[in-house]
Each structure stands twice: as structure tokens, then as C-alpha cells.
């Protein structure tokens, strides 16, 4: 890692003054130079190579494990008869949950006009896409005969064999598929102007051609920008209910079944809160090293990190409330099966996993009440690592404790993952980080065009009204009533 540059503290809240989102006195040129430097420097930092080597190794292991699975069948996993879902679905829910933070930042915070999102939305969206790719892998390979996985799709066939649309598992196929597609569109469309920046700054012919093709001939026309902004707003409006629906549908996989511990109406909001909680932890896990490594500290400032920490704290409290409520409902329902399963969660064979989850998801985020923790990158990393682990265990606890002790005590069995499952989980991190590292190096990691819109220089003050105070503009704002009548300023030139 490069030498640790001093942190600029822009976290103070001064009433009446807008906080500085971009530090280091960067102007438009400076922002582009800073972001493009990651891509333009002849070779990336040594740490990038080390991380890529590790990721590629894990990715290779993933490939080997998946091949081994396909050649031998799901028997190579540790699944047993009551516990038909283990690491596979745990990993699926874990990864798809990670993705939610990216969409929250890019869509929901956009609708809420949170300007600080512009510095982190690009790589958070990339994180979403890579996480959903990892997520999609697991249901794909857990079906046994994966060469028949296309049966999930409603394809015309001579057998009149269609998907069962009354099953939540099928809803999942559509939810995750749509989520991936829309996230990819959102990410790519938002990236067009920045890809054009790379095209215009490219010095070698291959790069000019590649980025020229990728940027689709974007030339920054204001008429294009007009439709672009409207399209971006529409995508945000579409992605917002979508992101809430995806983890709700994932939770239906469990909640619509009759199994104690799964059959509960709290699941959809609880899963969504957990997804955002885990996702923001992953955003911080990626942001803290990336801003250090690629010199982005003036763009992804301490304030951005602190805001993310606050969201982790809030969603962590929501998740803690849900944990509490599950126990309350188990008691209040009077159902002996519900009561049993929750007693078994906290005190049964998987109590170790349950208490790991509580320590990581309930206790650890409480440190974020303290500003000193929220503004110290090392302490942030410690807490978010705990949350990453905790959120994986949350899914493990939900899935495995309910299954391994179902209605028939004679079939109870303790689930132990096989080495293949453990290596597949590790390998999925290899896939995720390989893609992320390549993204950092070869694509615009920060939404440069969007960052520029929230800078004070983007306001029309300087030349037009030198002595008049005009609040900074919100360039992605589409309330037509806010457009100033231009006639009043016509004579200023």
C-alpha cells in the first residue's frame, strides 16, 4: 500500500453552510485527473498485483470446484436429508444482499438528492453487479443437472413444460434476473460520459477504439444530456422499488414455506434491511483500501465514509430489532414448533453460529455511535469486517437451524459443509475481487461527470451574478419549476 496520506476532516456539521464534498481544492480538471490517473498510470500499485494474484488463485479454485461438482453431482457437498440447503443458498442470499447497497446508493439516495452519493455510486454499482454475478452462480450450480438449468426460463418446448409461476423459487429467477439486467443498464448508462472521458484522454490507438466503442459516441451535447438525465431519473425510479422487491422475493423463498423459523411475515423488511446493512459494510470494505490505493482521498472523503458508517449503524439497529422481534413472535404465537426452533437457534447445536451473528451484527455496529470510530479508517475496517462475517452467519443461521431440526425428530441431522463447499465460498470471493480489481484499473471508478455537478464550480455564479448568492445547483434535479427564467440574466455578457 502507498504511504498513508493524512486525512482531511470534512465531517463537521456547520449550520447554514454546505459541507465540502470534494477536498484538496480540486477543480473539474483536477477531478478528472485524479480519477483517470488510476487508469492512466503506466502500472498500478504493487498491492493491486498482489490482490489480483490472490483473487485469480481463488477464482481458479472456484472453477475447479464447480467443475468437480458438475462432474460428480451435488453429493460432493455436505448436504443431508433434512438440510437440503446449506452453503449454496447461504452464499446466494449473502451475495445478492451485498448488491443492494449499490442500488440503494445509486437509486434511492439519488431520489433523496443525497449529493455525497456521487463519489461512491459508481464503484458501489460495480460491486452490485459483481455480487449479483456471484449470487447467480449458486442457485445455478445447486440444481444438480445444471445442463437443464434453462428449464427455469419460460422457453417454448414440445413437452408443454412451463415454469411453475406459483412457486417463490421461480419468482426468484425473475427477480434476480431483472435486478441484474437493470443494475447493469443503470451502471453502463451512468458510465457513458465517463467512458467518453477515457476515450478522449486515451493516447494509444487500441484504447481509443475500445473506449470509443464503449462510449457509443457520447459527445456531451446538452440535448443528449437532457434525455440522459431524464433516463437516469427514470432508471432510479424503476430501480428503487426493484431493489426493495428483490430481497423481499428472496425472503419469500423462505417465508412462503411452512417451516418454523421461516414462515414469518417479518422476513421481507428484515431481509431488505439486512441486505443494506451488509451491503454498506461491503462498500466500506472496498472503499477504504481503494481510496488509499488509488489516491482518491479527495473525492471519497472522510465524510463519505462517515455517512456510510451511519447507515450501517441505522440498518444494524433495524436488523437487531428484527432479531428481537423474531423471538417475541415465536413466544407470542404460542406455536410450540416456533418456540422450539428459536430456543434451538440460541441454545441448540448451532448456538455458536447464532452468537457469532449477534456479536457481529448487533454488538459490533454499536461502536459507530462514536464519531472517533466513524472517522478512523482502521476501526471502520474492523467493524465492517465483523458485519460482513455476521451477515453471512445470519443467512446460515436462518437456513440451517430451521432445516436441520424440522418436524420429524427422527430425521434430524447436523449439517457439516464439505471442503468443496468451503472452497467454493472462498472461490466466489475470488470471482468478486477479480472483477472488482479489473474494474478499478480499466473503468472509471468514480462518476466524474456526476461529481462535477455537486462541486461549487458547477454553480452559475462566477460569471453571471458575481455579487449575488445563488445556492449550489442540483444538476440532476428535474423539477421543471426550478428552472430560472433566463431572460432576467440576458444582459450580463
Amino acid at each position: 500500500m502507498t504511504s498513508v496520506a493524512p486525512e482531511i476532516d470534512n465531517t463537521a456539521e456547520i449550520p447554514g453552510r454546505r459541507a465540502v464534498l470534494i477536498t484538496g481544492d480540486l477543480d473539474f480538471t483536477g477531478v478528472t485527473d485524479t480519477v483517470a490517473a488510476v487508469w492512466e498510470r503506466p502500472r498500478p500499485p504493487r498491492a493491486w498485483y498482489v490482490a489480483l494474484a490472490i483473487s485469480l488463485t481463488l477464482l481458479t479454485i472456484l472453477g475447479a470446484m464447480v467443475l468437480y461438482l458438475i462432474l460428480n453431482g451435488v453429493g460432493v457437498w455436505g448436504l443431508n436429508n433434512p438440510t437440503a440447503w446449506g452453503f449454496d443458498i447461504t452464499n446466494f442470499v449473502f451475495w445478492v444482499g451485498i448488491g443492494h447497497a449499490g442500488t440503494l446508493i445509486s437509486a434511492i439516495l439519488f431520489l433523496f438528492r443525497q449529493k455525497w452519493r456521487t463519489s461512491i455510486n459508481r464503484f458501489a454499482e460495480a460491486m452490485t453487479i459483481f455480487a449479483v454475478m456471484c449470487a447467480g452462480l449458486f442457485p445455478g450450480i445447486h440444481v444438480g443437472r445444471i445442463w437443464l438449468a434453462y428449464w427455469l426460463a419460460p422457453l417454448p418446448n414440445q413437452m408443454a413444460m412451463w415454469p411453475n409461476f406459483r412457486s417463490p423459487l421461480l419468482w426468484d429467477v425473475f427477480a434476480v434476473g431483472t435486478y441484474f439486467t437493470v443494475s447493469l443498464l443503470f451502471w453502463y448508462v451512468g458510465m457513458l460520459p465517463d467512458l467518453a472521458t477515457f476515450r478522449d484522454r486515451a493516447t494509444s490507438r487500441p484504447r481509443q477504439i475500445i473506449y470509443g466503442l464503449l462510449s457509443l459516441g457520447w459527445n456531451g451535447s446538452s440535448r443528449h444530456w437532457h434525455r440522459f438525465e431524464r433516463a437516469y431519473l427514470l432508471l432510479a425510479a424503476l430501480a428503487t422499488p426493484l431493489v426493495l422487491s428483490v430481497h423481499s422475493v428472496v425472503s419469500f423463498d423462505f417465508a412462503v414455506s411452512q417451516l418454523p423459523g421461516w414462515h414469518t411475515t417479518i422476513f421481507p423488511p428484515y431481509f431488505v434491511a439486512g441486505a443494506i446493512f451488509g451491503g454498506f459494510a461491503m462498500v466500506l470494505t472496498l472503499a477504504v483500501p481503494a481510496r488509499e490505493l488509488f489516491g482518491l482521498k479527495n473525492i471519497i472523503t472522510l465524510r463519505h465514509l462517515e455517512n456510510c458508517c451511519k447507515i450501517v449503524l441505522v440498518t444494524g439497529l433495524m436488523v437487531s430489532y428484527a432479531y428481537m422481534m423474531e423471538f417475541f413472535m415465536a413466544w407470542y404465537s404460542g406455536s410450540p414448533f416456533e418456540r422450539f426452533i428459536f430456543r434451538a437457534r440460541a441454545g441448540g447445536p448451532y448456538a455458536w453460529a447464532y452468537w457469532t451473528m449477534i456479536a457481529c451484527n448487533v454488538v459490533a455496529p454499536q461502536l459507530f455511535w462514536f464519531k472517533r470510530v466513524r472517522t478512523n479508517v482502521w476501526l471502520i475496517l474492523v467493524v465492517v469486517m465483523a458485519v460482513n462475517v455476521g451477515m453471512w452467519f445470519e443467512r446460515f443461521v436462518i437456513i440451517v437451524t430451521s432445516l436441520s431440526q424440522d418436524f420429524l425428530p427422527s430425521s434430524w441431522d447436523y449439517y457439516r459443509p464439505s471442503l468443496v463447499e468451503i472452497l467454493t465460498l472462498a472461490g466466489s470471493f475470488g470471482l468478486f475481487f477479480t472483477l472488482f480489481l479489473l474494474f478499478c484499473r480499466f473503468l472509471p471508478m468514480v462518476a466524474m461527470a456526476e461529481v462535477k455537478t455537486v462541486m461549487p464550480q458547477a454553480a452559475l455564479t462566477a460569471e453571471r451574478h458575481p455579487h449575488e448568492h445563488v445556492p449550489p445547483t442540483r444538476a440532476f434535479d428535474y423539477n421543471p419549476d426550478e428552472h430560472e427564467p433566463p431572460a432576467q440574466t440576458g444582459g450580463s455578457s
Binding site: A160, F165, F174, T178, R199, N219, A231, S245, E484
Partner: protein, 420 residues
């Protein structure tokens, strides 16, 4: 200054002029001036969407949201229709639909065949999916993107448009455009530089090697679908290719094959010497073979009783096994025969008429033997019809024969009037 360069290079085509500004404020002010001067074919180019530029340029609100609304509605209806069709209709409801599109209304977990609540998630997802796709495709289409050739991209100066510079472009086909005058006008708006946008006048074309490569690729890409289409439309005596075997083809020995595992080298196993499978000890020659002593049995065996019910059973079995060839009346004119005649099947021999004098004269035991073991091209039926049923068929055949060769006196006297 730069505008004058156009006159010295007459072969070059002038597309317009660009003026460079260093701040969004200066650009918006200039845009208002250009608009007020009455220019119609012009645009501004900026590194980020500049607030207020829409009003300064009189950009009308895009109709994109209406396209998206239409797409979302279509997705919603499509999702509903698809789920209803696939899970709640059947081939019986729409028999004219091609097989590969027919719905299948199977019951599962006691859920209703069509249940709207269960269909909501997929309807929602398809609504969002189509709306999002049309948002992106519509935005690009309305913007005329992708567009890889643009004279603007030839200007080194213009490369900063995606970083930190703001440009105002006036097209040469604007009615008010005049290379000299417009350049002076733009400079007067505070532009730090004004430059002509030129090209060599040749229409943009793709590189020849790229076109060749694409054509070759497109031609090659046609092969797989052509091979698939040929396989689907033609017949082949060869077994189908199974890439993934599943359990379609299993390694095993068939009955008459040799198998080195066993001492006698036969794949089929024989019962141990001196044993007999249950139900296969057929010692009663009259009942099982149709013989009494050395002759064909002339009477029905004692195990069966020829009565009305027995004849009905025989009639029903005759209809199943015999009538296809021999015909319901036994005249040897069954549907199989008619079809064979219709198709002119070479070498076809008409099934015997059961009313033939020879067959009429056969003892019942002989008829039983014919059903049991077959004769000429008629196959044996002992595997398909149990002995009692074979005897029932024989009894019915006798009744049929009588029906075609009877005198009035053979009919009971009380029913004779019906036949007169």
C-alpha cells in the same frame, strides 16, 4: 482567424463552428445570446449536465417518459398473460395452437390453477424490466446514439469537452450561419477560442477489413442454425445425439446377447434345472393348448361356461385384438386392411374372412390354437390374451359365423317376425 482556414482548403467540408468556454456560467450566457439571435441548428457540449442550459437553449422536455410508461404497461400485461397462458390454459382449450406453445394447467400443492397474488411478483419484475430496457434504448435512440463518426471528434480541442471545457456549436446548415460573421459573433460572446468543424467531405465508412470480418462472421454464424434446422426438418435412421446422457442409454445386456460373465456365455438367465415359475405349469392340454388326445378339441374346456356374459367378454376382446384386421364382422376387412389397400402396401395379403368355409369347419380347439400361436402373417397372441379370454373370443367367433350362415328356423320362433 481559424474560420478563414476554410477558404484555403476548398476540398474540405465545413460542418459548423465551435466556440470554447471555460465555465458553465459563460456557456449559459452565450447560449441565451445565440438563442436570441435566432439560430436554430446549434447545440452546446458540456462535461456534465449544466443547470439552466435547457431553458437557455429552449430544449423541449423529452417524450421518453411516455415511451417508458408504454413499455411498463406492456410488461405488466405480458407478465399476466404469460403466466395465465402457461399455467392456466391447456391444449384442450386452444387445440389449434402449435404444440410447442400450448399451455399446461397442472395442479400443484392444491393451489388454484390461476391465482393472481402468486403472479404479482413476476408481473412486477417484467414491468420493471421492459420499462428499464426501453428507458435505455429509447434514450439512446432519441439521441441518435451510438454514433461513432462525428467531425467534432477530429478536433483535438474538443477532447476536453468530457473533462473541463464547455463548447457551443453552430451548424453550417443553420439558415443564419455565415462562416465569417458567426465566428465574430461567437467570439463576441466571450469564447476563448472559435474553431471550424471540418471533415474531408467523404461519407463516413467502416474500415474494409472490419466489414470483411463481420461478413465472414455473420456467414459462419448461420451454420449452426442451418444445421439445427436441417436436423429438425429431415429424417434420419440414426439414433439422436445425446450430449448429456442422463440415463437415456444405459450399459446393459439384451436377452439374446452373449455374456462372458456366465459359464454358458448367455446374457439371458435360465431357470434352475427342474424348476417352473409360478403360474406356468400348463398340464391341462384341453384348456391351454386346445387338444384332446391327439385331436383338436371339439368342445369348450370345463374351465369356461359359454353363456351370455362369456360371449360379451369375447365380443369385447375380439373388438380389441381381432377387429383391427379381421373387421368387426369378421369378413377380413378391418381398418388395418383398408389402410393397407389405400396405401397400396406391397405384398399385402388380406386377412382371412372368418366366414370362409374352411374356417367354419375348424374345431374350436384349432381356432384356439391359431389365436395362441398365430398363423402365416398373423402374430401369436398368447402373451397378450390369457387362455380364458382366448376361449371367449373363440366362442364369439362361432357366434359371428352362425350369424352369417343361419336359416330362419335357427332364430327363436318369437323373434322370427322381426326378420320377415
Amino acid at each position: 482567424m481559424t474560420a478563414q482556414a476554410t477558404s484555403s482548403t476548398p476540398v474540405r467540408k465545413l460542418h459548423g463552428l465551435i466556440a470554447e468556454f471555460t465555465s458553465p456560467g459563460a456557456l449559459v450566457t452565450a447560449a441565451e445570446q445565440v438563442r436570441d439571435a435566432g439560430f436554430t441548428r446549434w447545440d452546446t457540449h458540456t462535461p456534465f449536465p449544466v443547470h439552466g442550459i435547457d431553458a437557455a437553449m429552449d430544449i423541449r422536455r423529452t417524450r421518453l417518459p411516455w415511451l417508458v410508461l408504454a413499455a411498463g404497461t406492456a410488461g405488466c400485461l405480458l407478465g399476466l398473460l404469460m403466466q395465465w397462458w402457461m399455467n392456466a390454459t391447456s391444449a384442450a382449450d386452444f387445440p389449434t395452437v402449435p404444440t410447442f406453445l400450448q399451455g399446461y394447467d397442472y395442479l400443484i400443492s392444491g393451489k388454484p390453477i390461476f391465482s393472481l397474488p402468486a403472479n404479482i411478483p413476476v408481473i412486477f419484475e417484467l414491468t420493471v424490466l421492459l420499462a428499464a430496457l426501453v428507458t435505455v434504448i429509447g434514450m439512446l435512440a432519441l439521441n441518435n446514439l451510438p454514433r461513432f463518426h462525428d467531425a467534432l471528434f477530429r478536433l483535438p480541442r474538443f477532447r476536453r469537452v468530457t473533462t473541463d471545457r464547455f463548447f457551443l456549436r453552430v451548424d453550417a446548415d443553420d439558415p443564419r450561419f455565415d462562416a465569417e460573421g458567426t465566428a465574430v459573433f461567437l467570439r463576441g460572446l466571450g469564447a476563448v477560442a472559435v474553431e471550424p468543424v471540418e471533415s474531408d467531405g467523404q461519407p463516413a465508412h467502416w474500415p474494409r477489413w472490419l466489414v470483411t470480418a463481420l461478413v465472414v462472421l455473420a456467414a459462419l454464424a448461420l451454420f449452426p442454425p442451418l444445421v439445427v434446422a436441417k436436423a429438425r426438418l429431415s429424417k434420419s435412421p440414426k439414433p439422436r445425439i445425446a450430449l448429456i446422457q442422463d440415463m437415456d442409454n444405459q450399459e446393459r445386456y439384451k436377452a439374446q446377447q452373449s455374456n462372458p460373465v456366465f459359464a454358458d456365455g448367455r446374457a439371458g438367465r435360465q431357470p434352475p434345472a427342474g424348476t417352473m415359475a409360478r403360474g406356468q405349469l400348463h398340464t391341462d392340454a384341453h384348456y391351454y393348448v386346445g387338444r384332446v388326445g391327439d385331436d383338436w378339441a371339439l368342445t369348450f374346456p370345463p374351465q369356461v361356461t359359454v353363456d351370455q356374459a362369456f360371449l360379451r367378454r369375447g365380443q369385447e376382446r375380439f373388438g380389441v385384438y381381432c377387429a383391427p384386421c379381421h373387421g368387426l364382422g369378421g369378413a377380413g376387412d378391418g381398418l388395418v386392411h383398408q389402410r393397407a389397400v389405400q396405401r397400396d402396401t406391397p405384398g399385402w395379403v388380406q386377412p382371412s374372412s372368418l366366414h370362409d368355409q374352411l374356417i367354419r369347419s375348424r374345431p374350436v380347439g384349432h381356432l384356439f390354437n391359431t389365436i395362441t400361436n398365430g398363423i402365416r402373417s398373423m402374430p401369436p397372441y398368447s402373451d397378450q390374451i390369457p387362455p380364458a379370454d382366448r376361449w371367449a373370443i373363440v366362442a364369439y367367433v362361432r357366434a359371428l359365423q352362425l350369424s352369417q350362415d343361419a336359416r330362419l328356423e335357427d332364430v327363436p320362433p318369437e323373434r322370427q317376425p322381426e326378420l320377415r
